[in-house]
Symmetry: C2
Subunit: 187 residues, 2 copies
């Protein structure tokens, strides 16, 4: 049976694919470009993925999931949060580092929320990783703000980790694992 | 006849009200809180207001308009753009000034896009004002990023202007005037 990850981000797809191997060969993960995926402006990721999933659920007759993630920096009142992708495209990691100059509180969280459409019913799975904003960009793996985020329990940024290493820490991996546990109970 | 400005922002309503007086008493402007107004995440304001207006057009049986505006800073690749409201709530004017430290190119534009639903048909009106980001916050009128934006042809920030003065320059006033011109031709 196919499970479709509706995303335009190949990095996210690769990260999820690693974690879904344990469902194979019963479940086969496929990437579906963002045809008709609508993202609303909202301060929380749940609202965004639920809205997108409910729309897709009306269009698609297959099992699918959407995911949205964000970097929430405590000293910046949660910025860039649900708008991380736009902020990455405009300000980049350098913009965040500039905003964080002379700020002692480096605490940040990456959060991921998945909405799974399974048999026409939508379920939500969440993952969070605590960490801090580094003082400079490091590493070239991953994507987005990975070069400036150091998860708790590591000295490396996400961009200094392979997919397997990042998946031992990451918000997205936590959410995907919860989804995988759910799928095991119903398939 | 009533015309409803669907917005949660009283400042915007007051600015528009000043410009619509010339349609009175035939047209009476009313504020309608954002019941059911959906904003999508998109890099351009047109998409955002069109989506909101099409949704409202299905729900409302009255003439209405929605407006979205953004501050587009050239040196920041258009940031904060369509996400100005969120960025204002999290980073504030101070965050923008920090991002602009040591940047010589201060050019910025405020853009406003209105979608008017009139007799069930949606029409778009645009207004832009060119200007620059000030070196510090000045003034206490207006809202949002008004304290750091100086329109071309003035030495004052928007926040140092009364509504009447701001309306001689502003993006929103330009868009509202175009809408008023249209309404005159059909009412």
């Amino acid at each position: 049976m196919e499970l479709y990850f509706v995303t335009g981000n190949r990095h996210k797809f690769e990260e999820a694919k690693f974690l879904i191997t344990e469902l194979e060969p019963k479940i086969k993960l496929e990437m579906l470009g963002e045809v008709g995926k609508l993202e609303i402006q909202a301060d929380n990721l749940e609202e965004i993925v639920l809205f997108a999933a409910e729309n897709l659920n009306r269009q698609l007759k297959v099992n699918f999931f959407v995911e949205d993630a964000g970097l929430f920096i405590r000293a910046l009142n949660g910025f860039p949060g649900p708008f991380s992708s736009y902020v990455y495209r405009t300000l980049g990691c350098k913009g965040i580092l500039k905003l964080m100059e002379n700020i002692e509180d480096r605490y940040a969280e990456f959060r991921s929320v998945i909405a799974l459409g399974w048999g026409g019913v939508i379920r939500i799975f969440r993952g969070t990783v605590r960490g801090k904003i580094s003082s400079e960009e490091r590493g070239s793996y991953g994507f987005g703000f990975d070069p400036i985020f150091i998860p708790e329990g590591s000295n490396k940024t996400f961009a200094e980790m392979t997919i397997e290493e990042k998946n031992r820490h990451s918000h997205r991996a936590k959410a995907v694992k919860l989804m995988v546990d759910f799928i095991k109970t119903v398939m």
